[in-house]
Amino acid sequence: MLRSHDVLTTVRMLQEENLDVRAVTMGINLCDCAGGDMDTVAAAVEAKIRARAAQLVAVCDDLTTAYGLQIVNKRLAISPASQLLEGHHGTEAAVRLARALDAAATAVRVDLVGGFTALVQKGMTPGEQLLIESLPDVLAATQRVCASVNIATTKAGINVDAVNLVARTILRIANATASSNGFGAAKLVVFANIPEDNPFMAGAYLGAGEPESVINVGVSGPGVVKRAVERAVARNPACTLDDIAEEVKHTAFRVTRTGELIGREAAARLGVPFGVVDLSLAPTPRIGDSVGEIYQAMGIAKLGAPGTTAAVALLNDAVKKGGAFASSAVGGLSGAFIPVMEDHALSEAVAAGTLTLEKLEAMTAVCSVGLDMILLPGDTTAETLAGLILDEAAIGVTNAKTTAVRIIPVPGKRAGDRVDFGGLFGSGTVTNVNCPTGAETFVNRGGHIPAPLRSLGN
């Protein structure tokens, strides 16, 4: 028998504290759509997605009604599109494929489709090279297609040639979408140690070893965690950090189980296996739904001040502990995100100058996922972008964790300018790289940074 207190606690989390499911993402394997004629491939891709995902949104809407819980985004993650580009030539083929994905996503009413992906940590096939080089046209020509490139793993090391290619490509994407302030670059994530089952965009894709089709779920909950911390502090203003960690852990337990409930129900109704709950705390630009506000509730008045990285580590660890007990199906990225533009508190701290790019980089060493949704001046060079990607990849490879870079060089903008992408992508202030030049010779050497010693674990 449920107690009144339990019932009202759940209602409060759902009604007042922004507990929702951030993403229900259906993975779909498209390898069987490969072929020599791109028109045929595109038609097969569109048909398969329409068939597999036709009921995804309707099922999510039914679950929203039954549970009184908002499912913010319904998304698709496909097997790497680069596999469908093998044997094809010219940007037109990649754009044709991307348009088919866009059309299919529109038809089944999902928000985004991820998996325009290349895995190039050790080397690059012709199809992967074509995918990367076509990204400016693809991301400018489509609305819902998201891309990712994995340039490093702990096992393989860092493919510096790929990093340089991607860095140059990011500038081309930004210029190809200059009329929307380089928004195309917000749809590309550069990964180290990309997870195969991540439900969050822009980096979702269906990796090797995954089923033919699968449902993965990304939970949210920054607002719930923040309120829990605030209540702990209100109950006992002298509460210690371990008291706060305990509070976060218990809240993460509830949040994670909500995600698993929705994921398993959705999977059962759609007739596909359930995959994982990604227990990342994913903020939105809404006030009260911010990861930065959690750190403030802990006592970090100015985000970026010394101690901020420790606060991030505390939160990330407590979320994992609560989530790991809640469910044995935890996967994906599973950490606290720090996407600057999508989190109003982080965005304000960057605008105020207390939170710098370099501090954000330090924070990514102890959380998920990396330098995320950061606006850079339009005149940032490819070498500078490559250096940022290399630094993040080094953190990921050395610590055997996922790191990522989603940076947007905004054409025509300078440090301090404001940019607004709208919706969940949020708004922010263009920020400076503290020391933007000086590593060009290192970056341009290219080649490969060998895997660290810890890769030899067998």
């Binding site: 019932v7 009202l8 209602v11 549970y67 189980r257 909500t258």
Partner: protein, 199 residues
Amino acid sequence: MAPGSKIVASILVADRPGIMRDITTAITDLGGNIDGISQTVVEGYFSVILTAAFPQPLEPPAVQAAIACRFGSQEASIVVRPFVPVPREPRLAGGQRYLLVVSGRDQPGILKRTTTCLAARGINIEDWSFQFDGTQVTYIGQLTVPRNVPIGDVQRELHRTLGQIDLRCTLQHENIFRATNEVGPIKSLLQESADAAQP
């Protein structure tokens, strides 16, 4: 438990320590085994409903008299009837459990509006509780919703009728509450729901 007997009893009495002892002693001394019981206290009044099985044939008045002699004259209202199994309302077979939470300023008519809406759709109230906080009241109802009732329509009707008197309400499947408050595997919880949904 043939050839014995079974009764259902309801007792209403001003609350005080020892009521449960008095009732259960009376039944136990008659050789009875209490196999179903639910009690509550509202505004200082204690109420209990129970079922009890006896190994021997026993008429309800004998049980009533045994309980009554444990209380002062006029202290308790006692009803004892032969237990007759109540068949489950066919529409509720395979129904799903939902929780209704209604909250806002206390005023006459809240329960009438709510229960009228539920009864019109054949929704059964399994449990109902409330709590006051000053002038504010919160009702929590555990309901069984027949399988073919569109829950979205019920939610909209409740929002409409209760919104007219400035009340808030939520109607959600009980699994969301169990998932966030229990520690058992989610798979088991969903299996229980699926089993219960079998007509």
